[in-house]
């Protein structure tokens, strides 16, 4: 019987193809809109989550800079003595203030650029452009989510002093100096010549890989500059005591919070605390940020956009549903004699009702399927073209929901006309011209 009803519904839909399609349009548009936005939304959400993992959602970054009241255009101001920086005292107090929240504090500073070579190898062929980066003991903990050691090992705690001539290098340098063999590079000595003609010898303890972006400002891949990671104190010593560079003026730090910390509220507390440590007449100001906040923010605007488009989709579905009801009413009127005949042949009211509800459901389901396909296509193109680089993630939950909604619209808007058909008087139906 159900099989027969489905067959009949298809026969009747096929008899008026254009009309059936036009009826479906509302459903198609509504479903497509919702599926498309769900696909885009889901893709962004998943991408956010992945970014959250790489950026370290448990990290808080603090910057120190000029306060909002500072007038940067003031030429009379003594800019030579303007050096916003975290003092060691401030950092110690910070760690003491938040023992429950702070797991590690990461500090890094960029030093000079230079060229790394290996003694005994042809320097024209075997060289690598490097930029010195000094890190503190907490740096590796703070960046553990984006940085891994692929060969050798990390610094040991006793290797972070000024006279520790150890370094971590990346695979790029290994390719340039050791033909790509990371294992063999570990333990080797390299000579780093800095711009002012001084050279230092470092021992490679490990090879790291980082998924943070590298700047390709070189003409060839071989000439690309990569980070040579050395102990902070060592880098500072190399840079020179009195140099006015980043080693003496730490302006940003990254804090890894302990698991279970409410990162968002900790960020505000931390910012307030750090500002309270500054003298009252300070021209400096500390700002703290975290990724969780940013992700929360972007998720929020995504939810609002989803809601808006879903609302439009819902209106289209409502209009589509009314269209289905309208076309079913017309179709039933046209088929009055058929209904009368069926009743004469033994159809119960419920048989007639089921037949037309089935037809309404199938129109909606077919519209729903076309809408799902169209929505997935639109969502796919939106993701690949507008949000290039994102991996498209289909929200299967919304695909099933779309099926369910199409079905429900069929039942809801098909019921009234189907019931009207079911309750037709057989005689009047048979006499209908």
């Amino acid at each position: 019987m159900l099989h027969e009803n489905v067959r009949l519904a298809f026969v009747s839909m096929a008899a008026n193809k254009l009309r059936t399609f036009l009826t479906m349009l509302g459903i198609i548009i509504g479903i497509a809109a919702v599926i498309a936005i769900m696909t885009v939304g889901n893709t962004l959400t998943v991408a956010n989550q992945q970014q959250m993992a790489t950026f370290g959602v448990n990290n808080v970054e603090c910057y120190i800079g000029g306060s909002d009241s500072l007038d940067y255009s003031n030429e009379d101001f003594d800019w030579n003595n303007f050096h916003p920086a975290f003092t060691e005292d401030m950092l110690r107090k910070m760690i003491a203030q938040f023992p429950e929240e702070i797991e590690a504090v990461g500090i890094s500073a960029y030093g000079q650029s230079g060229k790394a070579t290996v003694q005994g190898k042809n320097q024209d062929q075997y060289y690598a452009n490097v930029s010195m980066v000094g890190i503190n003991p907490g740096y590796m903990d703070v960046n553990s989510s984006s940085m891994t050691i692929t060969a050798g090992r990390n610094f040991r705690s006793n290797e972070l002093t000024a006279d520790s001539w150890y370094c971590l290098v990346d695979q790029m340098l290994v390719s340039n100096l050791f033909d790509g063999d990371a294992e063999s590079a570990v333990g080797k000595k390299i000579t780093v010549s800095l711009s002012h003609d001084t050279a230092y010898e470092y021992t490679i303890v490990g090879v790291y890989s980082s998924n943070q972006m590298q700047f390709a400002d070189a003409t060839s891949v071989k000439d690309m500059q990569t980070n040579l990671i050395v102990p902070f104190q060592n880098a500072k010593a190399v840079a020179g005591e009195d140099s006015q560079d980043s080693f003496n003026y730490i302006s940003d730090i990254t804090i890894l919070t302990k698991t279970g910390t409410d990162v968002i509220s900790f960020t505000t507390q931390l910012q307030d605390f750090m500002n309270s440590q500054l003298p009252s007449d300070t021209l400096y100001q500390v700002s703290c940020y975290n990724n969780a906040e940013w992700i929360e923010e972007s998720n929020k605007s995504l939810r609002q956009m989803t809601l808006a488009i879903t609302a439009i989709g819902a209106i289209a579905l409502l209009v589509g549903g009314i269209g289905v009801m309208n076309i079913m009413t017309v179709s039933i009127m046209e088929r009055t004699r058929e209904i009368g005949t069926r009743k004469a042949l033994g159809a119960r009211n419920s048989d007639i009702r089921l037949q037309f509800i089935t037809e309404a459901i199938l129109i909606c389901l077919l519209g729903g399927i076309i809408g799902i396909a169209a929505g997935l296509l639109i969502g796919y193109f939106a993701c690949t073209k507008l949000l290039a680089g994102y991996t498209v993630t289909i929200s299967w939950m919304s695909v099933w929901a779309a099926f369910g909604i199409s079905f429900a619209i069929g039942v809801f808007f098909g019921f009234y006309p189907a019931n009207k058909a079911a309750r037709m008087d057989p005689i009047e139906a048979l006499r209908y011209e």
């Binding site: 019987m1 099989h3 027969e4 009949l8 026969v11 009747s12 008899a15 004699r337 058929e338 009368g340 005949t341 069926r342 009743k343 004469a344 042949l345 033994g346 159809a347 119960r348 009211n349 419920s350 048989d351 057989p426 005689i427 048979l430």
Partner: protein, 260 residues
Amino acid sequence: MPTEEEKILPEETAEINYGADAPHEEGTDPVISLHQIVKKYYIGSENELEVLHGISLTIWPGEFTSIVGESGSGKSTLMNIIGLLDRPTSGTYEMLGTEVSDLKDKDLSYIRGRQIGFVFQTYNLIPRISALKNVEVPMMYARIPQKERTEKAEALLEMVGMQDRMNHNPDELSGGQKQRVAIARAMANDPALILADEPTGALDSKTGRLIMDLFHRLHEENHKTLLLITHSQPLAEETRRILTLSDGRIIGERRGTNAS
């Protein structure tokens, strides 16, 4: 205006139950037993219209009866009541020994589907489905399994000589072919009663003859009880009972002059 004298006869005939005393097999129930069936339209309004004035009629199993009468005399109205498509305003109706005038819609559908086969003047085949599917329709509503339905429908279409057109849709068939499919369909659930309201009315006399022959076969070979409304005097004469309806009353019954 009818004269006083003319009016007396119908009034008297209302007392008669036509066919009640006809010979029949001992212990069998009549297929149809109508008692004082009245049908009114526009009940309660000022133009209330009484179309049937109290019809009493008995039809026994295996009888082939025709109803004749002027247009508007109430033949179709009576047929619809007999076919359980319509309800009488008053009176009682027993079908095969069961009182049916106060049954619910659902039960009426059940009896209609299994005990009554309809043949209409305008065929009323269901459009866009094949002749075979049309014959299957009553069996589908009687919840007969698909395989059985198809087999039975094929056999019935063969019986009416339509085996070569089984997969044709109604709009690909001639009037006579459509009516043959309709007759096969009326036989689908092997009903006790076949009701045909002017089945040859839309056909030429040659095709009409063919359809009438089919009815005779259903009567003689399948032992069906048939009730036929016709405007064709010669065809009516072929049936054993001819009832004449006039202005909502049965005014007489006689044996067809050409009945076998």
